[in-house]
């Protein structure tokens, strides 16, 4: 044989990924071959089976012992953190998919122009696009790949596999179509712009190191002299691409628009899954590849983290739309998480930070999905009642729902005995141990500011009199009710007895990232 050895691919380790993508492809096939009335009843089980099966596969991989070597010729690292993040993404995806199951959120025919007879026909025909399922699966697979990519190229591909379906999904809201389509366009244009930055950064880093594998870049940091400009600019541009995805300031502008415009179940998926995946990628790039360059990127990251926390907290105050407010809160949370990213040091310190971040991601992700699930249930004639003023007096109208939502908000604010508190504590503790005390102080101050707008919503819900024509609470579908229940339960359990999950995160973090 001349030359090319077939690469070894550890199918066992990659099976969770492959299953998700496989399910997505089967979804497309169903779209192609199944008649319309059957599609939804086929798609939903396929999607759920894919996700549950993938989660089971993750567990199997864990049972068989966390691999110590990167899979697929070093392209994908299935290490402790990656497996943990996969599990988290799959859980979040699973509960988001339960939300996505709600037809009422999605457009019946994306191609029909709003207000035309075609659209009316499509709505009358009932149902929504069932393409959302395979699209969501592709996005989820992309998220998983993004968090485990051990090579910038794979990371870039994963970034796009994750983003492209999301761009489309954003434009599929049934109500407020223009808003949704605008969100889609904005997300797409800005997302493509940022991924171009990521790519150029990757090119420059490749120019410096001669390789795009994270381990190779790390090696090159030591061995290659000169050409530092390439590396620094490249790092910066990589950072732009990644920070955009996590919505860190000053690249946060898309988040509120997109969160507001997108169909709420998709917002839930984005706000939870994408953030988790993007942090996985950020950690990999900045710790694994550029770990030895921390003296150069850390100051910038300090600035970004501070800006993100402050911007998220302060801008959220002025919001009048519940989804925009949650978007800004998500920005602020991204800032809190960044403090953990910055707090690197010796190996033990890294493990500590990683543990904190992983736990935070779980806690925040689940609560976020729950919060958006509640948002889907508060409706008036025009669909979801997004404007905050419409939420006035909800606590009187529907104490249980408002109570749960208030609880989620308190978790966002980081009040003790909610999951958010331990998340924040874990990250801040790591940051303090890593010597980032000023950052933590900024963090707590902005948490206090952030608490203001969470509390404001609670005030509106509980302490204001309900408007006479206020929104109705939709009778939740089993899926939506389940999501809210799961999220609330998780928020409580993680707030009272977080030890098991913390232990898991610790185990996952203890191996750190493999190179």
């Amino acid at each position: 044989m001349n030359g090319i050895q077939p690469p070894t691919i550890e199918y066992g380790q990659l099976s969770p990924l492959l299953l998700v993508f496989g399910a997505a492809i089967i979804g497309v096939l169903i779209e192609a071959l199944a008649p319309r009335y059957l599609r939804k009843s086929l798609q939903m089980p396929v999607t759920l089976l894919g996700l549950v099966g993938s989660f089971a596969l993750v567990l199997t991989v864990v049972m068989q012992g966390v691999p110590t070597k990167a899979a697929a010729e070093g392209a994908i690292a299935v290490d402790g953190p990656a497996l943990f993040i996969w599990g988290v993404i799959l859980i979040l995806a699973l509960i988001s998919v339960l939300l996505i199951n709600d037809d009422n959120e999605f457009v019946a025919s994306a191609a029909a122009v709003p207000g035309t007879p075609e659209e009316e026909d499509a709505i009358a025909a009932g149902g929504a696009h069932t393409e959302i399922y395979p699209l969501a699966l592709f996005a989820i697979g992309g998220m998983m790949l993004f968090a485990s990519a051990n090579d910038l190229l794979i990371m870039f591909v994963a970034l796009e596999v994750m983003s492209l379906p999301l761009y489309l999904l954003c434009g599929l809201a049934r109500r407020r179509r223009l808003l949704s389509q605008e969100a889609s366009v904005k997300y797409f244009l800005l997302g493509a712009f940022s991924s171009a930055f990521f790519l150029y950064g990757m090119a420059l880093v490749y120019g410096f190191a001669g390789t795009v594998s994270l381990a190779g870049i790390n090696d090159a940091l030591g061995s290659v002299g000169g050409q530092n400009t390439l590396l620094l600019i490249g790092t910066g541009m990589l950072g732009v691409g990644l920070l955009f995805k996590i919505g860190a300031a000053p690249f946060q502008a898309w988040k509120p628009d997109v969160y507001q415009g997108a169909p709420t179940p998709i917002t839930a998926l984005m706000a939870s899954g994408t953030l988790v995946a993007a942090f996985g990628a950020v950690l990999r790039v900045f710790w694994v590849a550029l770990g030895n360059l921390d003296w150069d990127w850390r100051p910038v990251m300090w600035g970004v983290a501070i800006l993100t926390m402050v911007a998220g907290a302060v801008l959220a105050i002025t919001q009048t739309d519940i989804k925009r407010m949650l978007a800004y809160s998500s920005i602020a949370h991204a800032g809190f998480l960044l403090t953990g990213v910055i707090a690197t040091g010796a190996e033990a310190q890294n493990a500590l930070s990683l543990k904190g971040i992983l736990f935070y991601l779980v806690a925040y992700g689940i609560t976020t999905v729950g919060a958006f699930a509640v948002v889907t249930m508060v409706r008036d004639a025009g669909g979801e009642a997004g404007h905050l003023s419409r939420w006035a007096g909800l606590g009187k109208r529907s104490p249980a729902l408002a109570g749960v939502f208030a609880f989620f908000l308190l978790a966002f604010a980081g009040i003790p005995l909610t999951s958010g508190f331990f998340g924040k504590y874990a990250v801040f503790a790591a940051a303090v141990a890593g010597g980032a005390v000023p950052l933590v102080i900024v963090g707590v101050v902005s948490s206090a500011v952030a608490a203001f707008f969470y509390v404001r919503v609670i005030v509106l819900m509980f302490f204001s009199e309900p408007a006479p024509d206020g929104p109705t609470i939709a009778v939740p579908s089993v899926g939506t009710a389940g999501v809210v229940a799961i999220a609330a339960a998780a928020t409580v359990v993680l707030g009272i007895y977080p030890e098991p999950v913390l232990r898991l995160a610790e185990d996952a973090a203890s191996t750190l990232f493999i190179r």
């Binding site: 044989m1 001349n2 030359g3 090319i4 077939p6 492809i25 497309v28 096939l29 779209e31 192609a32 071959l33």
Partner: protein, 119 residues
Amino acid sequence: MELYVPILVLAVLAAGFAIFSLTIAPFTGPKRWNRAKLDAYECGIEPTPQPVGGGRFPLKYMITAMLFIVFDIEIIFLYPWAVAFDALGVFGLIEMLLFIVTVLVAYAYVWRRKGLDWD
């Protein structure tokens, strides 16, 4: 690089010839102004005013363009694979089969959604 020099030479020749023809045409031909002659030709009816910027294209062509891009990319992958087929062997075959099947899935979807139909 040297491989491309001859192409450049030929290109210069062809372009030179074409541009020469373009430039010489106004001098060799007569000039007789005629309003109707300079209107857009529309089988004798009054020309439809065309918007500045060329107006809009029917959506159909966009879809064709998108599909073209997708399949062109597929071709781009097929060529190196075909060239290196002997070296890649069965592994390459299986991989390419998977790839083509994946594309075919999307293709089947487009087909069923009438993306390939013209009216």
